[in-house]
Amino acid sequence: MNNDFLSIAEEKIGDKQIKLTVKGQITASSAEKFKKKLDDAIFNKNNYIIVNMSGVTFLSSGGIRVLLMYYKITKGKGGQFFVQEPSNNVKNVLGMVALDEMLYK
């Protein structure tokens, strides 16, 4: 298994709305790259952020920290933040720490 592959594609889906499609492994070390993308999204005044995680094969606590951080920042500004189409691994890990509410319903 490739333990250092992480790709993040961004797509503008509306005014102040962005979708990030993440593929690969969010380890404690690659989580920094993920954080940088979300940082940019906030810096660019997006207040509706969708993170598609259908291609994420590994999500560590470092990755959850980043999700939680930007969930709180976006919600704190009155915006929305969702995890969309979680892979089984992502669903399993978010369930483990009872953060399923981040999932797009």
Binding site: M1, N92, L99
Partner: protein, 135 residues
């Protein structure tokens, strides 16, 4: 039993995960268990890399053994004495917006593994965790 001795720096996390993958794949451990065990190992390694020798650096010895339907992983470092298991579990009942950002890693490792034990012996931190492999 296989072991690696590696510098405890965050850049080596991939090597640690690859080492564990190789061992678990060789023993045909199913993908879900493999993934969960790596989540636990990711956290333990990063803790050692971040705090054990700070601000300097040092090494960590990682051993893995898969025997009698059990995965046993041991981390041994000579850094500052620290028992991560003494850390209080985070409150996971509150809504996400009220959660603390950190503190989930060790909690997840404890949840994933069947046992996680810590001992300080001969000036070394030894963290041993075990996970039964389902039939």
């Amino acid at each position: 039993m296989k072991e690696i001795v590696i510098d405890a720096v965050i850049e080596n996390l991939t090597s640690v995960l690859n080492f564990l993958d190789t061992e678990m794949e060789e023993k045909n451990i199913n993908a879900e268990i493999q993934n969960n065990v790596k989540i636990a190992a990711d956290e333990i390694f990063i803790n050692i890399a971040s705090y054990a020798y700070a601000p300097s650096t040092g090494s960590v010895c990682i051993r893995v053994e898969i025997i009698n339907k059990e995965i046993i992983i041991e981390f041994e470092d000579s850094g500052v004495k620290y028992n991560p298991l003494e850390k209080e579990d985070p409150d996971i009942t509150s809504p996400a917006i009220e959660r603390e950002i950190g503190g989930l890693g060790i909690f997840m490792a404890k949840k994933i593994m069947d046992t996680v034990e810590y001992q300080y012996k001969n000036n070394k931190n030894i963290l041993k965790m075990k996970k039964r492999v389902q039939e």
